[in-house]
Amino acid sequence: MFIREITVAELESSKAGPEAAEQTFHMDEQTFHGFYEKTARPLWSYLCRISGDAALADDLVQESYFRFLRAQLKSDDEAHRKNYLFRIATNLMRDHWRRGPRSESLDSASRSAPQTDEHTADRLQQRSDLGRALARLKPRERELLWLAYVEGSSHKEIAEMVGLRAGSIRLLLFRARRKMADLLRHE
């Protein structure tokens, strides 16, 4: 069940008090609001630019926060929470690509095709020079570059977020950076 399936009517008919949610979630509403204000836009930007689809980013943002709230997260460390949120979002985006009728799995795509999703590529190409460069990268490369150069995540954090070994991040990031730099120079 996706959180976007919840209708306004259902929300209005909900008799659940805030204490019910606080028993289910690992943070209270006030803490959530503060965390959301800090992380929602960066997360949306990440999802929007990696997927090239703002509507998909909207859905994935909501679903990511729902799963984040339901997770039994013990740590109060804000950086850890943010990394965990981005990890959920990255997995959801990958699941979406796997399920999508027009796209192929990231793994097979990264082995063969230069682009995984034609529609994503088209959307990105219509944008700036950077958009065109991004569109020619593999989704995994886009993820790595964004997390490293926009979010400032360490290799260890990126490894946790994208589900790869920390040791392989450096090389993958280097290759992605070189590819992106070449594309930017030739645009």
Binding site: M1, I3, I6, E10, L11, S14, A16, P18, A20, A21, T24, F25, E29, F32, H33, Y36, E37, A40, R41, P42, L43, W44, S45, C48, R49, A54, D58, V61, Q62, Y65, F66, L69, R70, S128, L130, G131, A133, L134, L145, W146, A148, Y149, V150, G152, R170, L171, F174, R177, R178, M180, A181, L184, R185
Partner: protein, 198 residues
């Protein structure tokens, strides 16, 4: 291939590997860009280094392009009707979704029991019908014969007699009891499901 080796930098050192050339100061360069220190007077030394270092200049090229894109995306996210929904809406949706998931989880055993009961009811009926098929067949055949010969018999006292005989037979009694039991079980679960939905 990035970099031309020796022209690299004064303080940093370039890896000699042709496959993976990098500079030890790449992270410093990136930190300066991310923190905003790059553009200020504190960033002068690192800017000079990056200008002379192929690896670091590549970091600058890519990081600045991505950060520009991030700024554009953040502006888009702030436009009315675009970007992430308000925190309150996401909280309430999450709350409702959690309650719905909890309800579904709680109802799982009941749904399972209801399905098992339905399956047992159907199996009991089918099994009894198979077990008593010769008797049922003979009973239906004789009833059909009576109706054909004496149409009025279907509403007469003969049927009452036949019914009382049927109840008197233990096998047919069991058949009827099993059917009634299955029916009652189904009705009880149906009533429960309706009550729960309401």
């Amino acid at each position: 291939m990035i970099g031309t080796g020796g022209a690299a930098n004064r303080e940093g050192t370039m890896s000699e590997s042709p496959k993976l050339q990098h500079c030890e100061r790449e992270q410093q360069v990136l930190d300066a860009l991310l923190s905003g220190r790059w553009a200020g007077p504190w960033g002068e030394e690192i800017r000079e280094h990056a200008a002379a270092c192929a690896a670091c200049s590549e970091v600058v090229l890519v990081a600045q392009a991505l950060q520009r894109e991030s700024t554009v995306a953040a502006e888009e996210a702030g436009e009315p009707g675009a970007g992430p929904p308000p925190a309150g809406l996401v909280w309430w949706k999450a709350q409702r979704a959690a309650l719905r998931a909890a309800e579904e989880q709680a109802a799982q055993p009941i749904t399972l029991v209801a399905r098992v009961a339905q399956a047992f009811g159907v199996l009991a009926l089918a099994g009894t019908a198979l077990w008593q098929w010769p008797r049922i067949s003979a009973w239906l055949g004789s009833a059909h014969g009576v109706e054909r010969l004496h149409p009025a018999a279907s509403t007469g006292t003969e049927w009452i007699e036949r019914l009382s005989q049927a109840f008197a037979s233990p096998a047919t009694g069991f058949l009827l009891a099993a059917s009634a039991g299955a029916l009652l079980t189904l009705m009880a679960f149906a009533a429960y499901v309706v009550w729960r939905e309401e």
